[in-house]
Amino acid sequence: MSTPILEIKNLHARVEEKEILKGINLTINEGEVHAIMGPNGSGKSTLSYILAGREGYEITAGEVLFKGKDLLSLAPEERAAAGVFLGFQYPVEIPGVSNIIFLKTCVNSVRKARGQAEYDAIKFLRIVREKAKTLNMDEAMLKRSVNVGFSGGEKKRAEILQMALFEPSLAVLDETDSGLDIDALKVVSDGVNALRDPSRAMLVITHYQRLLNHIVPDHVHVMAAGRIQESGGRELAQKLEANGYAQYIKAA
């Protein structure tokens, strides 16, 4: 029997007075790639932020287990160290912090928390260069401020580079395809696919079926109005592409 990485049980959450998640149930096992699809405002991004630990959401009921342990009580940095990675829909620009300093600080923080030896500057640079190359990233990007002046494609490639360096047990990719042209989509998808691993779980959140032609999921869930309305195999994505979300919005 496969081991669950992520178990979301009856999760309810709200922002201020507005209830956004109204009872999410979802289990992702080792090696599985799940996709959540849904219309805008369905609560997809909220779910990804709650998994990563962003402040401002009140959990009113339910629980989330990561490798069998309570995830929601951990600080964001503790979740990262435990092996949760969130790929942002809109990666944040941080003027004044160079990418290479940022990456080294992140990776060494996580390694330290995991009880692994921290990388020295030279070794780290070698590892980053190697991984950046496989993602067709210009090395000059490493010296620039984090995400500042990056195109949509560059930002997403930078996210995948981070993910590759982190080697997470659970990767949550929030609308990774937004802002990408066809070529960039292929590079990013290849980057994600290269990280598919029997010990790793992935949750791909997307509005469009397009991404799922490149990152082929094992399971597809349709989310609307704060609930998972339907679950199925990869064929469900094609059905959605043909019929749209209207029936789910109506049903909700």
Partner: protein
Amino acid sequence: MQSIPTYLSQRIAGGVLPADLPGQQHAWLVQKREAALLRFLNNGLPTAQDEDWRYTHLRAIEKETFHLADQSTPTQTIEHMTQDFCGSAVFVDGILSKTLSKLDNLPAGLSVSCVREKLKGQQADDFFPAMIGADSWHDLNTALFDDGAVIDVAAGAVIEKPLEVICLSTKQNNATAYHAKNSIHLGENASLKIYKSKISNASHVIFSTHMNHITLQKGAKLQRIVLSKHADTTFTFVHDDVLIHEGAVFEKTAINLGGKIIRQKTTMNLAGENAYAGMNILTHTAQDGTTDALVDMRHNAPHTQSKQLIRSLAGGKARAVFQGKITVAQIAQKTDAAQNHQGMLLSDTAEIDAKPTLEIYADDVKCSHGNTCGALDETALFYLRSRGIPKEEAERLLQQAFIAELFEPFEESLRDSLMQRITDIIEKGAA
């Protein structure tokens, strides 16, 4: 009128100058000191009714008792901003220390002396011109100054390695007071870098005034970095008055960390065509002090350029004040003036006040000013934490990013060492 500290009322009891001041044998100086003292006693310290003092209140200064500095041996170790300097002037409690300074092998064209030295003997000229915007602090300083640096670069002398100036305070039980009058003069096409650091230990209670007369002749170039770490019980009033002639370039980076009341006033006169003034200021206070930066930039000639970057950080119950005024005279066509102030509030109880002012009398100029104030960016903080960086470290990284632009003009090694030192001081209160 704001009442003056006890130390002062004793030092100038009965409106008479103390006998221990240097240069008493010069009639012109005694006259100058007496006139200044009279003005000071008539006007007193500024109050909140003075427009320039609306945000910085001086009440705290009344409660402290100060004594004359005793110039005993400082216990601090000297930390150099760079290892490769052409000379080092060390001041202890405001007085040049011959034993600690290294001024014997200065490069040709550079002369470094002190006010006391200049005032020795029977002949001495008045080497302090009038200051723009001279106020009560200037009067007090003129009446009571003890010493100061006198730096001169001969015309055409280009001094490659920086000159180091270090100000130390002696460790003693009593709070100390001193008044410094410094002058820096660069002849035509001369060039100099001055790296100054003023470091106080946490136990120091200091009251000091610093009047800096700076003149750049045609085509001269001065780069000045002043790193000050003030004890939380320090009261310091600085006024830089800078005269910049045709084609001369003045660049200053001032870093003020900590302090009870730190007032840094700069008046700049861009007096010749193509003169340039660059002013970068960082202030950081996290206890209950006030840092107050006032920049009065005067464009008095065509094709002059000025650029100001100011970053204020305030935490705890601290207050940061920035008052910036750009005046463009009618004659100063084609002026290019930019001013940018950004404040960062590190706590709910801190306060930042900013008052940018533009006065433009010429019609063909480019003037810009920007002003923002806010807390740490929560989204950026979450982004860093989601990448495994602990909260405190993420906050530090964002604070560093906030101030990084100030140090961009510097070469990498200086930039890194300054940043490291600032971070250490902010975090540990270490010097």
